[in-house]
Symmetry: C2
Subunit: 322 residues, 2 copies
Amino acid sequence: MSRQTVSNALVHPERLKAPTLEKVQSVIAELGYRPSSAAQSLRSQRTGAVGFELLAIGSANRNEIIYPFTVALSEMAIGHNCHVVTFSAAGAQSPTEGYEDMIRAQVVDAFIIADTHKGDPRPAWLDKAGVPYAAFGRVWGRPDITSWADVDGAAGLRDATNHLFAVGYAQGGYLGWPFGSSIGDERRRGWIEATTASGRSLGPEAQAEQDLDAATDAAYDLIEQVGRGGAIACASDLLAMGVERAARRRGWVPGRDVGMTGIDDSSYAGMLKLTSVSQPVTTIADYLLGLVHKRLEGGPPPESGALFRPALVTRASSDPNT
Amino acid sequence: MSRQTVSNALVHPERLKAPTLEKVQSVIAELGYRPSSAAQSLRSQRTGAVGFELLAIGSANRNEIIYPFTVALSEMAIGHNCHVVTFSAAGAQSPTEGYEDMIRAQVVDAFIIADTHKGDPRPAWLDKAGVPYAAFGRVWGRPDITSWADVDGAAGLRDATNHLFAVGYAQGGYLGWPFGSSIGDERRRGWIEATTASGRSLGPEAQAEQDLDAATDAAYDLIEQVGRGGAIACASDLLAMGVERAARRRGWVPGRDVGMTGIDDSSYAGMLKLTSVSQPVTTIADYLLGLVHKRLEGGPPPESGALFRPALVTRASSDPNT
DNA sequence: CTGAAAGCGCTTACAG
DNA sequence: CTGAAAGCGCTTACAG
């Protein structure tokens, strides 16, 4: 069996006749042969690795999403014939230092970036360096960049609000963040759309920062306004936790006396039996890896960014019969 | 400047005279040259990568630790001249399938493993395959394996208990898990040791499963036993959260009327202002990477496993003046 | 289908 | 210090 034939069996199986191919494949399976990735990398000038920066700092809220996303990337990598290299440039001079290092040492071919924000220097640096990348989260302030995927927060709130009406709550209020945050405003829009589409008038609403005491205080008054038998859709799990605490403080049973929903399906949402909306991290990871793969093959960028619909996870906090 | 000299400058700088070395280094810095890791891997038969399996499933409790640990590994990798490849063998036939794949494709030289448990097939498989590894967490049931590091839970509870006494709580009770869990028993031992060493008698204690309602119910009676001005050291943040809820249910202010401490410094500990004990993930990641590095160099395994002391993070829940 | 060759970029041993 | 060579394990182009 020539070296050429084995290589063809792996790379261009269509060049071999069926019986030869099968013979080669069975021997490969028997010996457990796998081509050396180092040699393949050297030959192809591709590493087959995608870099993903993990930041040490970060709000609890953010980490609740980034960890599942990291797992999702690692899971989906196999299907894209690549693996994920995580890195963290603690104490770096510039936000792109870690990226420069990875590229120069040719450890990765491309990056998935997260936590994009206004004025983020990474997209521009990566573009200039000619390194493919795709972002988890919109690339704010750069409408020309379309290689991103994000969660459809409006759809999440629509689903949560519709669910609250469907299980029989009389009125649906809203606890959100102060106006002006893009993500917060989008989620609130979902609540408005679902309420309006159901033919109801908007319930009472309030705003609180992403802080438990502030949320609890705001919710204490708000749940009195919706009254027993009403429900509150929230812009985050933390705000929903505030509603839960406010209910307890009034002696109301969450779910039975007042319903509530959060967003992100964080660890404490499960602990508190809060209905929430689970971010479609696996779908997003798969999509983003597909994007960088296409860019590596020289394909064009997508027409536009992609929004993915999260999935409702119902728990006792939105069950009037609790 | 010969290829040989440049290579020597990087690998054996002591072979060059100072002026030559400096000249080479300045040119390297100017061009931003970094040796291709693919070529180095092929040559050395080492990839310079350490694999780390991320599991999709897992309790919220566990994920609160594994994510910071993953970040710590990525941060510490630079110092060990390696990088971290995360993988996840979702839908694998056996728990070692992902490991086999990574080794056969020669993507990594070694592994860091977490979530070791009794009957875990991974250590035996890795030993048989001759692949170096080190574990975050004791390798239960295999006292012969010493390549592990873990958190000293007894020290954590000692520190928490001593702190509660130091800030002036009259009595220190304990809320733990049902007896028989190794980690739980170790943490309880820390509470007993600190209490005894302070010359006090043990305060009241209770047990609850790692479930919020169970913890809240158990804590409701327990805090009445310690009384106002007392405090409860807990085996986990979730149990401490139960104490916090029980205090609120009684109309007591956490910190002022009853103190409480948790373990792990999870996201919700910060949200609820719970004093907790932060796992030394960075120290552990650094130690474990050092271990696998030594094994790769052919060094002997350590004499014994290593326990690292966690760090107390004080917040309002253990402040009588709140 | 086989077989011999070339080259990806390193590191090392060796002769000068 | 230089320079020429070898080899790590692949993939590909090419002659047979």
